[in-house]
């Protein structure tokens, strides 16, 4: 694992490799998602309780999985930055945050759409939705902190520290939200499409999950490439400024 | 005690400000850091104090008797005074004495009074530090040097806001410190005259002292 990431550590090598991989990953994602959507709409049976609308679960659940996986990735990147000073660690963390926030929002939104027919209301404070909402706040915090600090090196370190604090607190927050929920006995208990998860539901769910994962990899790679390019542009601009300043100094001295 | 810097590379805000600086300072030696603003004097002092890590190179203390970290062996007087406006002059100094030099036997009132006297602040001892003029605040910051004992002094633009008489107090304090075997590094863009001082001029070229 170490040598693999070391090979990727060189931004130029990363750009080469990702340029070659990206079309394949994107194509793969499209194929898996297409298959998954087919399964979700035509193969999986309608929910015994809620009918067709329950199919939204095939987007809602994978989104929630990705939301959590993405935060884990950010925490790993943060660790890579602070402990190993991996050159691409910060690029990875910065690129992943908005994507993770988007998946979290998608999970909340689709959960809310499901909620209306299922519970009669667009929002309910069950343990799962509440935890995902707080995860959304954690993402917003990362994005807000980074955008409020001018110095990019400092921003990368502080965001990394915040991500690690978040990953430590996440299980505790989830535990506390679960506790608070059992205390207040929500009026309805959500079950994933029935008393047990039948394979006709599980298979499409897993396929959609895999599709979302590959989609995330594609988006993350693309976002990392964009970030590397942006940093290169900025470096070139700063070099231009330094050159202009130096020539101005020599011109003034003459 | 020997303070050694080898091939130091320091950067600030993405720019390399010090590129390959080396120096050695022993007991009783003092160093003047000169150069225009932005040439890295503050960055170098902060790196010596341990606040920033060098991009490359090494800073170390060679000392048989003491294996404390560099940070604990130095007095750092930076651009800012490090004083609390709501505490009196005496309270500010007493806090730093207690915090920086925990050896109780040295923290008696006479030592503090001596420190205040050295920088002619005795009359202002019970005045809240917020009421002081800029020069008086600077002198209060400098009186830290006398309130707790540290072998290495790192002074960044210490004479800013000081009048001629106060500059003389500063120079005397530094000279006395070096005469007793201490080391002093003073960064300044104002003229300051010390005896027997080495100089490194930053910005023009990197010198080895």
């Amino acid at each position: 694992m170490q040598t693999f990431t070391q090979r990727l550590a060189n931004p130029t090598k990363f750009m080469d490799l990702s340029a070659r991989l990206l079309p394949w990953v994107a194509g793969f994602a499209a194929a898996i998602l297409a298959y998954g959507i087919y399964l979700a709409f035509f193969v999986a049976p309608p929910d015994y309780l809620h009918g067709e609308i329950a199919r939204i679960m095939f987007v809602h659940v994978p989104s929630a999985w990705l939301a959590m996986a993405c935060y884990a990735l950010i925490a790993i990147s943060a660790f890579g930055l602070l402990v190993f000073r991996h050159p691409l660690a910060d690029v990875s963390a910065k690129a992943a945050a908005p994507i993770g926030a988007a998946f979290t929002f998608l999970a909340l939104f689709t959960g809310s759409l499901w909620g209306k027919p299922a519970w009669g209301t667009y929002w309910v404070w069950d343990a799962r939705l509440t935890s995902v909402l707080i995860l959304f706040f954690l993402y917003l915090g990362l994005i807000a902190l980074r955008s409020s600090i001018e110095d990019e090196t400092l921003a990368s370190k502080l965001t990394a520290i915040l991500a690690l604090v978040g990953i430590v607190m996440l299980p505790i927050i989830k535990f506390s939200v679960d506790w608070g929920n059992t205390l207040h006995q929500p009026s309805s208990v959500v079950k994933l499409g029935g008393p047990t998860i039948h394979s006709s539901i599980l298979t499409p769910l897993l396929v959609m999950g895999a599709g979302f994962l590959v989609l995330f990899v594609a988006m993350h790679l693309k976002a990392m490439r964009n970030e590397v390019l942006r940093r290169r542009v900025k470096a070139l601009q700063l070099a231009e400024v330094a050159r202009a300043q130096a020539s101005q100094v020599t011109a003034a001295a003459e | 005690m020997l303070l050694v810097a080898e091939n130091l590379v320091l950067s600030r805000g993405g720019r390399t400000v010090i590129d390959g600086l080396s120096m050695r300072l022993g007991d009783g030696e003092s160093l003047l850091l000169t150069g225009a603003n932005g040439t890295g004097k503050t960055t170098l002092l902060r790196a010596l104090a341990g606040f920033l890590s060098p991009v490359a190179g090494e800073i170390r203390i060679e000392n048989e008797n003491d294996d404390r970290e560099l940070g604990e062996l130095c007095h750092f007087v930076g651009h800012l005074d490090g004083i609390k406006p709501h505490l009196t002059v005496a309270e500010n100094l007493a806090f730093w004495a207690a915090y920086l030099d925990c050896d109780a036997s040295q923290n008696d009132a006479s030592r503090l009074a001596g420190a205040l006297n050295k920088f002619e602040l005795a009359a202002l001892a019970d005045i809240p530090a917020g009421y002081l003029s800029a020069g008086q605040k600077r002198r209060l910051a400098l009186s830290r040097l006398a309130a707790a004992h540290r072998p290495l002094w790192l002074l960044d633009e210490p004479s800013v806001s000081l009048d001629t008489a106060s500059v003389a107090l500063l120079v005397n304090a530094v000279s006395a410190h070096c005469a007793e075997g201490g080391i002093a590094i003073v960064a300044t863009h104002l003229p300051l005259v010390f005896e027997n001082v080495k100089e490194i001029r930053l910005g023009a070229q990197e010198n080895a002292a």
């Binding site: 400092l154 520290i161 604090v165 | 709501h86 207690a98």
Partner: protein, 221 residues
């Protein structure tokens, strides 16, 4: 030890001399709690049911008001640089300052809470539990808040940003603080939430300073 205590003592003395900061936090607490009945109507039964939650949430918001300044003044007047040259590692400096914040701000807020409970018709039996949970839970508020303060030291819009960063991290303290109060009023075992609340506070007193010191070191570069 001497250095640690002298730092805590200095911060407490400064807090007393700059009484305005604590006064503002207490005043804010009072005002926010007052807004509730004005906004929700003066149904005493309703107020009584929501009182523990309201008092806790308003306390969190009031504590946040002063947290931004835990490290700010030392950073801005150069004291932080000199503190680093002392015998204490930066982690203990963070502990000292968070502790001083707890004593000077969080504890007074916790002691004001029962008074405000009167405004909200808090159940009589809940008063001891309220004060107990707040005294046990507010170290987490100060120590986790200190992490937020260290992270937002040089950030623009620091005051709002620290709230955004720190409030989600307060959720466990809030949940178990309320759970402990409810448990003492109800039939359930009250020990569990109290113990968990204590664990959260103790954990934050150990881990919070680690994160705060790491952030402060990065800020000083």
């Amino acid at each position: 030890m001497n250095a640690f205590l002298s730092l805590v003592a200095r911060d407490l003395r400064l807090a007393v001399r700059q009484g305005g900061a604590i006064g503002t936090a207490l005043g804010f607490y009072l005002i926010v709690v007052t807004m509730l009945p004005l906004g929700l109507g003066a149904d005493l039964n309703l107020l009584s049911r929501i009182a523990p939650g309201v008092l806790w949430i308003a306390l969190l918001l009031s504590a946040l008001l002063s947290l931004g300044r835990v490290f700010e003044s030392d950073y801005e007047d150069g004291s932080l640089d000199v503190l680093v040259t002392g015998p204490l590692p930066l982690e203990l400096v963070a502990v000292a300052k968070a502790l001083a914040h707890w004593i000077s701000t969080s504890v007074p807020l916790a002691l004001l809470a029962p008074v405000l409970g009167i405004l909200l018709n808090l159940e009589l039996l809940a008063y001891p539990a309220l004060v107990a949970t707040m005294l046990i839970g507010t170290p987490a508020v100060s120590f986790i808040g200190a992490v937020g303060a260290a992270l937002t030291l040089r950030a623009r819009r620091g005051g709002l940003l620290i709230a955004l960063l720190v409030l989600p991290l307060y959720v466990p303290t809030l949940v178990f603080g309320i759970a402990a109060i409810s448990a003492t009023l109800g039939p359930d075992d009250a020990a569990a939430p109290f113990l968990i609340l204590t664990a959260i506070s103790l954990g934050s007193m150990v881990l919070g300073p680690l994160a705060a010191a790491a952030a402060l070191r990065a800020q000083m570069q």
